[in-house]
Amino acid sequence: MSTIKHRLTPLERSERRLGFAMLAPAFLLLAAVVVYPIADLIRASFTFLHLAQPWMGNPFVGFDNYAKALGDERFLEAVWHTVLYVIVTVPGAVVVGLGLALLANKPFTIKWPVRLGLLLPWALPLVFSGLIFRWFFEYNQGIANAILRGLGFAPLNWLTDPTLAFLTICLAIIWKASSFVALVLLAGLQTIPKSYYEAAEVDGASAWQQFREITLPMLRPAIFVALIFRTITAIQTFDIPYAMTNGGPGNATETLAMYIHKTTVDFLDIGYGSALAVLMFIVSAVITSGYLRYTRRDPGRH
């Protein structure tokens, strides 16, 4: 397309109008489900609104809710847990996913069991993965303790010891998330020309050298995409800890999303819950904007 400005022809003008008309439903839907609720969220975060105390009304309280959050130990713990989940599960899922992708990138004669093996964890609802892993790590009937007993060790309190519960939840998250990472990385692996490896082989490069010098650099964009996706979802971690421990023991495995859910739905403290949600959004926004800077491009150009 030329960059010289020219008067639009009637056809171009009508196309442009049609274009905006076709974008309208998407923006209407987003306005109703996202934009208006955001405005409402921000407004509510500066007010007192407690559904269990309707006589208090909905007075404006300025930054009180935010100040309360900074002094709320349970909130700070939930933030810390969320950060820990990000630190453990993001690299964990990417490393495991890379391993799965490398294993899956072999010339199989029958492809479907491998592909389905990668798709199934992705398609399984998060809560169900949580339920299944909770079942695996159940004290009496779980398979993990059965193996320990079989090997002559004492069974462990997988889900009732704070540290073990955290690690068990991380394991479930990594299992669930690594398959999506593997699918993204596998697509990346398949774009690397075979000739690179053949040339390296001729030069006598070892498998490890080929991995370091060809695979990793060529996969960098795909790894970056996987990292960003995984980070965005890790910040919102809710389903798996909810199904496995419901945040327990105590609130040792509670995430930010879980605390916001409890504050709002169980404690009915809408004002305070809104302030917490705004804080959570700010964290996500910083990361999402980094992602968008990476992906932003003109879709009209091919």
């Binding site: 389905l116 798709l119 339920l131 299944i132 079942w135 919102q236 809408i270």
Partner: protein, 276 residues
Amino acid sequence: MPRLGNRRTMIVLAGLIVAANGFFPALWILFTSFKTEAELMRVPITIWPAAPTFENYVRVFVDQPILRFLFNSVAVAVLSTLLCVSVSSLAAYALVRLRVPGAGVILSILLAIAMFPLISLMTPLFQVMRDLGLLNTWWALVFPHAVLSMPVCILVLISFFQDIPRDLENAAMIDGCTRLGALWHVVIPLTAPGVFTAAILAFVNSWDEFLLALTLSPRVASRTLPVGITLYQGEFSFPWPIISAALVVAIVPICIVIALFQERVVSGLTSGGMKG
């Protein structure tokens, strides 16, 4: 490097590891669903059910409104998929083909809004749905679920629309089609695989969604499968054999979808992820 004759074995082994990693939990649940509560208490645990029983399945269907959950899940997933795919197709087409000024910026804004973590909006969404009287109805979930899948659907559809040669549409328009006519008669049929891929992704996303369903539709009669099964309360402890049977009932439909359309799903996921 020594080239051993076991190259084939290594390949098979690699495949087995990937498949076992993916299948094991689902298979374990399947086996558990045929065991009795007594067998689960046995101390060296059994892998294969000693005396397979269908009792758990009977109890899932008789004691729990699982058919109701299933119906709700299907309705919400189908409606939100239809909404998401139609809205996303229109938007993607406008961005790729029509001379909308600043298409790149519009796409970024669209994605930025749609990728807003809906989790942090559960409080206002709860209020909005309550004000509209939609709490505990399918609609409370249909609209947010459609938004949830919009980014991936738009990205998948854009990548498919870009591959349709412009000349085909121009030819159709010369033959007397309108723009929308060209979209309906030429572009949509040609991009049917793309539209279909977007639809599967939207369906799975909605089928799997938990937090919004838990918040916006918590009443028993309007629960979706993930909420219904997770909140399943036994008389004493968590009734694992029945839960397992319920999980199998909930997982089988999605497994069939995935197994039938695996190539589409993979291409959709990766084009949404890679090109996005």
